[in-house]
């Protein structure tokens, strides 16, 4: 066992000393967490380019949207379309002449919207609709008062006075579990951090398969076996080495995202347990890749490709909850989906060990299969000349 652990220690030291890892292991994951949080977390209300005829409707709409934390730019109609096409605005609003006239006359208004394909664009479009709804209700109130005999100005004054007296009815949303209630507002960066931990642990582990290939190619492995080290110890050492690297990567991202972005991991020990078990799966995959492929550049390519594809399928880039049914079933063929579910349980619902046992069981199953295959292929590769 000590021999195996010595090999593990060497692998870990190699990983930490390699300066080329500084960006991809330490900086890039956090950049992605920041990036995804900024795009999908939606701290602000989005950007809207408003165009069309200058009048009451446009002014009222702009005021309503700005009150809802939306960034407004007023431009020409063509510019609005272009801004949306180039990704400089989420939504483009065109206030046509008929709409402005209808607004003044108190009639129905139809406002064309051009919605971009940014992550927040749909939500921003919803805000525009909500702003329009509020304006419509406002018109209704004024119309009701004028038909009861008031002038429009006195109607508005009366409505302003009513605001000071009336307390509007409201809705209060709570969640069943008290702990879930605390976590109900998913922090802006929480989703990004959880998904990036999984993506990067897997990617870096697969990338680590190249060091395994290099060891084999440079003859280091063969020299190691010439020492009093059994093949079994070498294989266990390698597997534990991959696991150590995966666990270090996971721990780093969890700690850094927690400190820098205030990400809440729920029960830290449980979250780390999920990441470590997922790391076992990644270690197995890395061993399989490192033993089957002989060219480290090709392995690098395959590793990045497989890592990104599995990550995307497993919900690392886009929440699984929003996948269509068939795709969600397919997603559960990846270990990422199971690990993400376990992390969501711990992070968002305050789940305990019992709650995540099914997911952990599946992950251990993945790990067992991959480690066994990896061990077998590694043993065979050690006998193979490169």
């Amino acid at each position: 066992m000590r021999t195996a652990l010595a090999i593990t220690a060497v692998e870990l030291r190699r990983f930490l000393k390699d300066r080329s890892n500084i960006f991809f292991v330490f900086v890039f994951p956090l950049l992605l967490v920041l990036f995804i949080g900024a795009q999908f977390g939606g701290a602000s209300g989005g950007r809207v380019a408003v165009s069309g005829v200058d009048g009451d409707l446009r002014a009222a709409l702009v005021t309503a949207l700005e009150a809802d934390d939306v960034t407004i730019t007023v431009v020409s109609e063509d510019e609005a379309r272009e801004l949306v096409a180039r990704g400089r605005a989420d939504v483009g609003v065109v206030v046509p002449d008929e709409a402005a006239a209808a607004y003044a006359a108190g009639g129905d208004v139809a406002v064309p919207l051009v919605v971009g394909s940014g992550a927040q664009s749909q939500a921003t479009a919803q805000r525009v609709q909500s702003a329009l709804d509020a304006l419509a209700l406002d018109q209704g109130q004024v119309a009701a008062l004028t038909s009861a005999g008031l002038t429009p100005e006195s109607a508005r004054q009366a409505l302003a006075a009513a605001d000071t007296v009336v307390q509007p009815a409201r809705m209060e949303i709570t969640n069943v579990s008290e702990i879930a209630q605390e976590f109900a507002g998913l922090g802006q960066f929480d989703y990004g951090a959880a998904s990036q931990v999984l993506l990067f642990v897997f990617l870096i582990s697969l990338a680590g398969s190249t060091t395994l290939i290099q060891s084999r190619r440079l003859g280091a492995t063969r020299r190691m076996l010439a020492a009093p080290v059994t093949t079994g110890q070498a294989v266990v050492g390698q597997a534990l080495g991959r696991l150590a690297i995966a666990a270090t990567q996971g721990a780093y991202i969890m700690a850094a995202s927690s400190l820098l972005f205030g990400v809440d991991w729920g029960n830290l020990a449980l979250a780390f347990l999920v990441v470590v078990v997922f790391g076992l799966v990644a270690a197995g995959a890395a061993m399989v890749l490192g033993s089957l492929v002989d060219n480290d550049a090709a392995a690098g390519g395959v590793g990045v490709g497989v890592g990104l594809v599995l990550g995307a399928l497993g919900g690392a880039m886009y929440p699984i909850e929003l996948f269509p049914d068939t795709l969600r079933t397919v997603a559960h063929a990846t270990p990422h989906a199971w690990a993400a579910e376990a992390l969501a349980e711990v992070q968002r619902h305050g789940g305990g060990l019992v709650d995540i046992l099914p997911e952990l069981g599946v992950l251990l199953g993945f790990a067992a299969v991959l480690l066994l295959i990896g061990a077998w292929t590694l043993r065979r590769s050690l006998a193979r000349a490169i």
Binding site: S20, F24, F35, T71, R81, E82, V84, A85, R86, G87, R88, V94, V109, P112, L113, V114, G116, S117, G118, A119, Q120, S121, L135, L137, D138, Q139, G140, Q141, A144, L145, S147, L150, A155, A158, L159, A161, A162, V165, V166, Q167, A169, R170, M171, E172, I173, N175, V176, N295, A297, G301, V304, G305, V309, A312, M317, Y318, E321, L322, F323, P324
Partner: protein
């Protein structure tokens, strides 16, 4: 000239045999395009499942009844309503029998008409998902209408201009409210569809990896000693670098062409006028190749160069929207506009909207300007590898 072509041909042959180029240049981007299209593309086709809701509303209460009736009569979402009392409703959602419980308090209408705050409790259960959010939006809309009625009625009472029937005013306020709807506006012809922007973005991102293979071979050869031997040959030394540039350029153009073609076939997108697209491809590859030369000068070893190249590729590709469309404005937006990959995608947007050679001036200028600046930089920056 012949020497240049011979060196280029041998380099190209070597790269094609080396599977890593084919994997990175073609296979991985195609796989990613496919998967991203599957996952992100499903954003539009959200399927809403039926939802079980327990509602508790006081009997003989008009406004409470309007909440219940609205929930029962939804078209877009199937709501399985269970009407019961408050304790039972809360128990049902706690037990997980229903996804959502809506509790309308006793004396709802009376509280509202007297101007006091009425609170509708909505309790989300374990299984509450997107459908629950839709129900919550609906409840909020009902409350907004009720509030509009109350506000108008109160205004009517407060006004000094004579007696007004509050109930009538409240009803009229909602009835007279016009319908303010949004319609689907005509998008700019330049707006790339989601699938098209994925194809273009992935092609642009992996282009930077592909040209890297070509140019960074220079560094590997220096380390292996073959570069010194090549320099001792009876030919202009500049031809060696030119051959590497030509190799990278050829690889880049072919790979991007293949990706755009296959991508447009698989995902049923069109990029428009072939000559214009060709000019865009040639420009973006030029920008990419020149960028790699800067990296090759600054890096000390082949491995360092590879890492730096990958970093640049990821940063430029992601900020251009290769993985998901980016929306940014102001200063950040201006910086993003200078990204050659972003310019490439913008150019493709213009051509897919029917633009021709005359219309792609701006993006081509950005890409070629980038290429010129980067080439200058690679000449002026000290060659750190040569000193090593």
């Amino acid at each position: 000239m012949r020497q240049l072509l011979v060196m280029t041909a041998s380099d190209l042959r070597q790269h094609v045999r080396d599977k890593s180029v084919i994997i990175f240049a073609v296979l991985v981007p195609l796989a990613l395009m496919y998967v991203f299209n599957l996952t992100f593309g499903s954003m539009d086709s959200l399927e809403l499942e039926p939802i079980d809701v327990a509602v508790s509303a006081p009997a003989d209460d008009d406004l409470a009844a309007s909440v219940v009736d609205t929930l029962a009569g939804l078209d877009a979402l199937q709501v399985n309503l269970t009407q019961t009392d408050e304790d039972e409703a809360r128990q049902l959602v706690r037990d997980g029998e229903v996804a959502l419980a809506v509790v309308v308090p006793e004396g709802f209408t009376e509280t509202i008409t007297s101007g006091r705050e009425a609170v509708v409790d909505v309790v989300e259960g374990e299984t509450a998902g997107i459908e629950a959010q839709v129900v919550e939006t609906v409840v909020q809309t009902v409350l907004d209408r009720v509030n509009a009625g109350t506000r108008a009625a109160t205004a009517g009472v407060l006004t000094s201009a004579g007696p007004v029937d509050p109930a009538a005013v409240a009803q009229e306020a909602v009835r007279l409210a016009p319908a303010f709807t949004t319609t689907e506006g005509e998008a700019s012809a330049e707006q790339l569809s989601f699938s098209a922007s994925l194809v273009a973005g992935q092609a642009g991102l992996f282009l930077l990896f592909t040209v890297g293979f070509g140019v960074l071979g220079l560094l590997t050869e220096r380390e292996q000693g073959t570069l010194a031997r090549l320099r001792s040959m009876p030919m202009t030394p500049g031809l060696i670098v030119a051959a590497k540039a030509l190799t990278a350029y050829t690889l880049g153009v072919v790979a991007t062409g293949v990706l755009l073609t296959i991508g447009s076939l698989f995902f049923d997108v069109g990029f428009g006028s072939l000559p214009a697209v060709a000019v865009l491809v040639l420009s973006v590859v030029a920008a990419g190749v020149s960028l790699v030369f800067v990296v090759a000068r600054i890096a000390r070893t082949a491995e360092q160069a590879q890492i730096a190249q990958s970093i640049l590729a990821m940063v430029l590709g992601m900020s251009a929207g290769a993985f998901f469309p980016i929306v940014a404005g102001g200063l950040l937006g201006t910086i993003l506009d200078l990204n050659p990959i972003a310019a490439f995608m913008r150019g493709l947007g213009i051509t897919s909207g029917g633009g021709g050679l005359a219309d792609i001036g701006a993006p081509v200028a950005v890409m070629l300007g980038f290429a010129v600046l980067a080439t200058l930089a690679s000449r002026l920056v000290p060659d750190r590898g040569a000193a090593a």
